[in-house]
């Protein structure tokens, strides 16, 4: 036994020496990246959760989290389900990072840390099937019943850029938002273009035309609790995943990538 212990000690020492070049990233659970998510979002993150414990998940965000963990030298990833707003609110959190199409804004920076952006997106406009004529301009949109997700960038764009004659209908979650678009209670929805594009591509006959995009150039970042010790390591890793093409590969795998061909609404 003694010999075995000595051998184990030696091995541990050797490992310690090898790893000393890059000290381990401080995480809540050592060796594991715990990731805050807000299921569901088509293409980005869907799955199964028991309370806040995610037992199965798939999508762009999920693969991105796994790539991030690998890049940080962590051996496992766990996902925690959360309301969207809590992912970047103030206070301590039961996760190391939050990945959920979180647009970096000055206001959100007051309550959370952000890494460098990994994806730049615009707002998309998806119409219901019965809308005629098909809107082509912002002026056309003004006359329609517009819907958006509560507290989203889309809601801001609806209010400030489109300014419809009837007030924008704000809906609390994406599935209900899209259901209202299917039934025609909403004539057009303004939401993150990659999500709308992926929804339309998967079930094309449930929606009307993807009218176009409204350029916002907003950027998704990985959100972290204020004062996180892992910020600089995670930030570097995110930059590396963008630089080495990982993000682009995941985009091709999970999201509709032909958004460049859509007209920009003016």
């Amino acid at each position: 036994m003694r010999l075995l212990t000595a051998l184990a000690l030696l091995a541990a020492l050797a490992l310690g020496t090898a790893a000393s070049a890059a000290p381990p990233v401080p995480t809540i659970t050592p060796g594991q990246l715990t990731v805050g998510v807000s299921l569901p979002s088509e293409g980005f993150e869907v799955g199964v959760a028991k309370g806040d414990q995610v037992t199965y998940a798939q999508g762009f965000d999920i693969d991105l989290a796994r790539a991030l963990a690998k890049r940080l030298g962590l051996t496992s990833v766990a996902f925690v389900q959360s309301p969207f707003g809590r992912l970047f609110s103030s206070g301590s959190k039961p996760w190391d990072v939050a990945i959920a199409q979180i647009t970096i804004t000055d206001q959100r920076r007051r309550t959370a840390e952000f890494t460098q952006p990994y994806l730049t997106v615009d707002q998309g406009v998806l119409a219901t099937q019965t809308v005629k004529p098909i809107p082509r301009t912002l002026a056309d949109l003004r006359a329609l019943r517009i819907c958006a997700l509560t507290k989203s960038t889309g809601a801001d764009v609806a209010k400030t850029v489109v300014a419809p004659t009837r007030p924008t209908r704000l809906i609390g979650n994406v599935p209900t938002l899209m259901l209202n678009l299917q039934t025609g209670r909403c004539q057009a929805v303004i939401y993150d273009a990659p999500t709308l594009g992926t929804l339309k591509a998967r079930t094309p006959d449930r929606y009307g035309p993807f009218v176009g995009v409204i350029k916002t150039g907003e950027q998704y970042g990985v959100a972290m609790p204020k004062g996180s010790q892992a910020l600089s390591a995670v930030d570097t890793a995110v930059g590396a995943l963008v630089a080495d093409g990982t993000v682009q590969r995941l985009q091709r795998k999970w999201l509709t990538t032909n958004l460049e061909t859509l007209p920009t609404l003016k």
């Binding site: 199964v48 199965y56 599935p175 299917q182």
Partner: protein
Amino acid sequence: MTRGYLVALVTTALAVAFAFPAGSSAAATLKVWFPQGEQLVSVDRPGSTAADAVAALLAGPTAAERKQGLRTYVPARTTLNDVTIVNGVARVDVSLQFVLGRDAQSLDARLAQLVHTVSGVEGARSVLLLVNGGTVYGMFPGIVTSRPITLKYLETPNVPASHTTAPPATAPVAGLLQAQQKLVSLGYLLPADADGKNGPQTQTAVLAFQKWEGLGRDGDLGPQTKAALATAEHPAPITKGPSGKRAELLLDRQVALAIEDNKVVRVIPVSTGKPSTPTPPGDFKVYAKIAKWWSTPFREWLLWAVPFNGGIAFHEFAEVPPYAASHGCARQFATTAHWLYDFAVVGMPVKVLSTSE
């Protein structure tokens, strides 16, 4: 009350009396729902509880039922953890396999199978799907599964029914009228559509002709098709049948023959079941005519539907490739679907043939 209704009632009463002899509970049966063509159809299974129903659903159709075109979209290794019914909500807890896969139609169809099979059993009015005890978020495109789902929700259309708008007729093409008249005389084109223009009706007729004659299927009146048309004879039914209206669906040629008094009235290009969901051959009868038929499992409209074998029907569809591509139905272009709907009568024989040589 009509006499026929009375007879039916008496017969039912007798059947029930035989099925449930006093003091026995062994004969209880449940209905389990599997897709056939574009709709769910039920089969009887022994059992009385929601757990029995789900277990029978997971087991899938029998070999004989599969031969009739029944199938399941529930993945093979899915297992049942638990079913509990509280206040009319059936909480059905299954293994992860149930939500796996990227095919939107397969996912939506298996959910419809489950909801339809469990609804009504042990007073269940809605179904809450759980996976190993967890709530399911966003795995079923367009359907919110974090709340209980009712059958009525799935049966309620949530998209408008729109006919496929064909491209407008083009300018007259020199010499086309003659070819059209030949297509009319052979039963591929309606007389009113011989207008000298290469419109959608003509393209459909040319495709029907190419399919019947075994030519390249492009719907274009090229030199080879023209040459064949010059010497072509009027198509004849493959089988001899009763006089009056009937139809033959020829799976190898991907055409349907509308037949009256053993003469082919019109040859219609169709796209039948793809290899994984083939259209079963056999003798059937048109049992309904439904102008707008909502497909509960696939959540789409079937227009000008003429069903003849459970969920298998002739119907209009936006995409009619020149090969077999459907879930088992005979898809048609907008150019023929309404015509066949008008031609068909309830009770009309439909013979599905795998070979027509």
